[in-house]
C-alpha cells in the first residue's frame, strides 16, 4: 500500500520530533552547565549513555521479579526514577573529581579532563557490561501506528509527552523556585551572586544534578525507543546535542529545547528526502548557516 505523500511527511515529522525531544533533553544539560561554568562538558553524552544502560539493567531486574509483567507502567516509572537518581550521582562524582579542582584553570583544561572522563566511562561500561550491544527486554509488542490514520506509535507519543512535561518542569524550576533563581543569578554574574550570599558550589552541583537527570531520562527513552543500547552512543549523541545547544544559543534554556527539536527534524527529513549518507552532516551545514546570520544562535540577543 502506498501512503499518500502528506501522510508520509507527517510520519517523518513525528520521527523527527521524537528524535528531537531526546536531543533537546541532552542539550539542556550542556546549555545549563555552559550557562553557569562557561565550559563545554564533553562527558555529558556519557551520562546519557549510562542512563540508557541503567534503564535496561533495572528493567531486567524488575522483569526477573515479575514486576514488568504485572505492572508495566509502574515499573517503567520506577526504572526512570532509579536511573535518574543514579545518573545524578554520576554527575556529582564527575563534577567533584574532574571539574571542581580545576575550575579556576585555563578554560581548555576542563575540556581535556572531560575527555578523560568520557574515555574512562565508555571503557568502564564496556568492561563491566560487555562490548556487544545491550538489548532491552522485549516487554513491548512491536506496534506500528496504532492511532488510526495518524502515524505515531505509542512509544513515540510517550517520549514526546514526557519530554514536554520534563521541559515544562524545568522551566518552572528555573523561573519560579529560589534555587532556580539562584542558578540564573550565578549564570549572570558569579562574583555578584556569591556576594549576595548564594552558595555557588551548591548551585553548580544542582546544575549537574538536573542536567544529569535530564540526560538519564533521555537515555531511558532511547532504550525504550530503540530497544538496544551500546557503550559508544554517548559520543555522537553528545556531539549532536551540543550542536543543538549552540543552534539555540548556548547558555539559553528555551534555545536548547528549540535547537534539539530543530536538529531532530532536520536529520529525519534530510535522511528521508536528500540522502541518508549525509545524515550527520545536515545539522552542521544548517548550523553554519544559522551562525553566519546569527552569530550567537537563534534565541540569544546579539550583544
Amino acid at each position: 500500500m502506498t501512503l499518500p505523500l502528506d501522510a508520509m511527511l507527517l510520519q517523518q515529522l513525528v520521527n523527527g520530533l521524537t528524535l528531537g525531544s531526546i536531543y533537546a533533553l541532552i542539550a539542556l544539560g550542556y546549555t545549563m552547565v555552559y550557562g553557569i561554568l562557561e565550559m563545554i562538558n564533553f562527558a555529558h553524552g556519557e551520562i546519557y549513555m549510562i542512563g540508557s544502560y541503567l534503564c535496561i539493567i533495572f528493567l531486567g531486574i524488575f522483569t526477573y521479579f515479575g514486576l514488568t509483567q504485572s505492572h508495566l507502567l509502574l515499573s517503567l516509572f520506577l526504572v526512570a526514577i532509579l536511573s535518574a537518581v543514579t545518573c545524578a550521582g554520576y554527575g556529582i562524582a564527575m563534577e567533584r573529581i574532574a571539574y571542581r579542582p580545576i575550575r579556576s584553570a585555563h578554560r581548555l583544561s576542563p575540556l581535556i579532563s572531560a575527555l578523560g572522563v568520557s574515555i574512562f566511562l565508555q571503557n568502564y561500561v564496556m568492561l563491566t557490561q560487555g562490548s556487544s550491544d545491550k538489548v532491552f527486554p522485549h516487554v513491548f509488542p512491536i506496534s506500528s501506528n496504532s492511532f488510526g490514520a495518524f502515524p505515531i506509535t505509542p512509544i513515540q507519543l510517550f517520549i514526546i509527552v514526557s519530554a514536554i512535561l520534563l521541559m515544562a518542569g524545568l522551566h518552572f524550576f528555573v523561573q519560579k523556585t529560589s534555587l532556580g533563581k539562584a542558578m540564573r543569578a550565578v549564570a549572570q554574574d558569579k562574583m555578584m551572586a556569591s556576594l549576595c550570599g548564594i552558595p555557588i558550589d551548591r548551585v553548580i552541583v544542582v546544575t549537574f544534578v538536573i542536567g544529569s537527570m535530564l540526560a538519564a531520562m533521555a537515555g531511558v527513552m532511547v532504550s525504550i525507543y530503540y530497544g538496544v543500547t551500546s557503550f559508544y552512543i554517548g559520543y555522537v549523541a553528545g556531539m549532536k546535542a551540543f550542536t543543538a545547544a549552540v543552534i539555540g544559543g548556548i547558555g539559553n534554556i528555551p534555545g536548547a529545547m528549540l535547537g534539539g527539536i530543530l536538529l531532530g527534524m532536520i536529520e529525519s527529513l534530510g535522511a528521508a528526502y536528500v540522502s541518508s549518507e549525509f545524515k550527520d552532516g545536515f545539522a552542521f551545514i544548517i548550523l553554519i548557516f544559522i551562525l553566519i546570520f546569527r552569530p550567537s544562535g537563534l534565541l540569544t540577543k546579539n550583544a
Binding site: L3, M8, N123, S144, N145, G227, S230, S268
Partner: protein, 396 residues
C-alpha cells in the same frame, strides 16, 4: 627509593628474559579489541584462542607449545602498522588478522616485508589481495561471490520485482551492496532497484530513511552491513509499517541480530556458508565454542578459527619451530593447502583469495537461523510463514 624501582624493574626485565628462553611458537591476532567495534575484535580473538588451545592440548606443533599475542588496532591504520611492527619484533610465525580492511591493507606491507604470512578472517576489500603480495591470504569470501548468491535468491527464487538496497558506508557493507546491485542487474532487467542509500555505522535511528522507503514499496530490502544496524533496521522497518523482508550478508549472521530485532527478525534472509552443524569438521568447534562463550555463533569467530587452523597446520608441515628462517615456505604451503574446516572446503588462488565460497541462504525462524535455500533450487515450498511478494498487498 629510586634504586628500589630500578632494581624491581631489572628484576622484571630478567624474569621476562627468562620466560623468553622457553621454546615456543608465537602467533598473533589483531583487530579492534577496544572501542566501538570491540565485539567483533573479541569474536576473532575467541576463535583464534580456541584453535590455539586445541593445538596445545594435542601437544602444540611438533611438541612445541603455541603462544597467542593479541594486538589492539582500534580499526586505525596507524595503530595497525604499529601493532604489525610490534608483532614482527615479537617474532611471530604468522598472523591472523587484521579485522578491518583499513587496518589490514597498511599492515600487510609490514608482514610482507618481514616475510610473515597473514590470514585475515574478515577483510573483504578486493584491493587487499590485489597488491601482488606473497604473504597475504583471506578465508572470508570476497564480496562479489556473496553478492551473486544473494542476487540469485532475490531474483530467481524470491522473484522480487522491486528492491531497495541499504548499506552502512563501510568497505564491507558498501562493497557487498554494490556487488549485489551489479549481480541483480546482470540477472534481470525487469527488476527495479528503487533505492540505493547509505547510513552511518553506529547510528541507532533509521526511521527517516525507512519511512521514505515505504513510499517506494519494495518487495525486499537488502542491507549490506553488520548485525547491530541490521537488527535495528529490521525492527524499525516493521515499526514504520514496512512489510518487505530484510536480506543481508554474513555480517548480520549473529544471534544478536535476532535478539535486537526480536520478533521482527522472523522471515529475514542471510547469505552464509552452509550449516556448519552438518559439516563433520565443524561439530567439535560449535560444541566447544558454545561451552566457552554460550552465545552460539559469532560469524567472525568461525572465520578466525579456520584461519588459525590453516596457519598452524602449515607451520607444522613446514617443520614447526625450525621454520623461522624460511617463512616463504609457510606461505607456499598455505597456498597449496586443501583444508576442510568449520566453513567447509577452503582452497586459495594465486592471489590469496579463497577459490570458492559456497554461500547459501538462511532464514530466521522461531528465533533461530535455519538453512533455507541453495543456489539453483526453486523457492522452498515449506515457506508458508515466510513473506512472499504476492502476499504483500493482502497483508498491508
Amino acid at each position: 627509593m629510586m634504586k628500589k624501582i630500578i632494581f624491581i624493574g631489572l628484576l622484571f626485565f630478567c624474569l621476562n628474559g627468562c620466560q623468553k628462553k622457553v621454546q615456543e611458537i608465537v602467533i598473533g591476532t589483531a583487530g579492534p579489541m577496544t572501542g566501538d567495534q570491540s565485539k567483533l575484535g573479541g569474536d576473532v580473538a575467541n576463535g583464534v584462542r580456541l584453535a590455539v588451545d586445541e593445538w596445545n592440548e594435542k601437544g602444540g606443533i611438533n611438541g612445541v607449545k603455541i603462544r597467542l599475542e593479541i594486538g589492539d588496532d582500534q580499526h586505525d591504520p596507524k595503530q595497525a602498522v604499529s601493532v604489525a611492527n610490534k608483532m614482527v619484533n615479537l617474532g611471530i610465525a604468522g598472523m591472523i588478522g587484521h579485522f578491518n580492511s583499513s587496518a589490514s591493507i597498511p599492515a600487510s606491507s609490514v608482514y610482507e616485508r618481514a616475510g610473515i604470512p597473514m590470514i585475515t578472517p574478515a577483510s573483504t576489500n578486493p584491493q587487499l589481495t590485489n597488491q601482488g603480495y606473497q604473504m597475504v591470504f583471506r578465508v572470508c569470501g570476497r564480496d562479489d561471490q556473496q553478492g551473486k548468491v544473494a542476487a540469485d535468491f532475490a531474483v530467481q527464487a524470491f522473484q522480487a520485482k522491486k528492491l531497495a538496497i541499504l548499506h552502512d558506508k563501510t568497505t564491507y557493507g558498501q562493497g557487498l551492496s554494490e556487488e549485489f546491485r551489479k549481480a541483480v542487474s546482470e540477472q534481470s532487467k525487469a527488476v527495479e532497484i528503487v533505492s540505493f542509500d547509505g547510513l552511518t555505522q553506529g547510528d541507532k535511528d533509521f526511521r527517516g530513511v525507512l519511512t521514505a522507503l515505504k513510499g517506494k514499496n519494495p518487495d525486499m530490502i537488502f542491507f549490506g552491513g553488520i548485525f547491530p544496524e541490521g537488527g535495528l533496521i529490521s525492527k524499525q522497518a516493521k515499526e514504520v509499517g514496512l512489510t518487505a523482508p530484510i536480506m543481508g550478508g554474513d555480517g548480520i549472521f549473529d544471534p544478536k541480530f535476532i535478539e535486537i530485532a526480536g520478533i521482527a527478525a522472523e522471515g529475514s534472509f542471510v547469505t552464509f556458508t552452509p550449516d556448519p552443524e552438518k559439516i563433520p569438521h565443524a561439530k567439535g568447534f560449535f560444541q566447544k565454542y558454545k561451552a566457552r562463550h554460550g552465545e552460539g555463533l559469532a560469524p567472525y569467530a568461525i572465520y578466525a578459527y579456520d584461519a588459525t587452523h590453516i596457519l598452524l597446520k602449515a607451520l607444522a608441515q613446514a617443520g614447526g619451530i625450525s621454520v623461522k628462517g624460511d617463512k616463504k615456505k609457510v606461505s607456499e604451503i598455505i597456498r597449496n593447502m586443501k583444508y576442510d574446516g568449520a566453513l567447509g572446503h577452503i582452497e586459495f588462488d594465486t592471489k590469496g583469495d579463497v577459490k570458492a565460497s559456497p554461500y547459501v541462504v538462511w532464514t530466521t525462524k522461531g528465533g533461530r537461523f535455519e538453512e533455507f535455500w541453495a543456489p539453483g533450487q526453486p523457492m522452498p515450498t515449506n515457506a508458508s510463514d515466510v513473506l512472499m511478494p504476492a502476499t504483500h498487498d493482502a497483508s498491508s
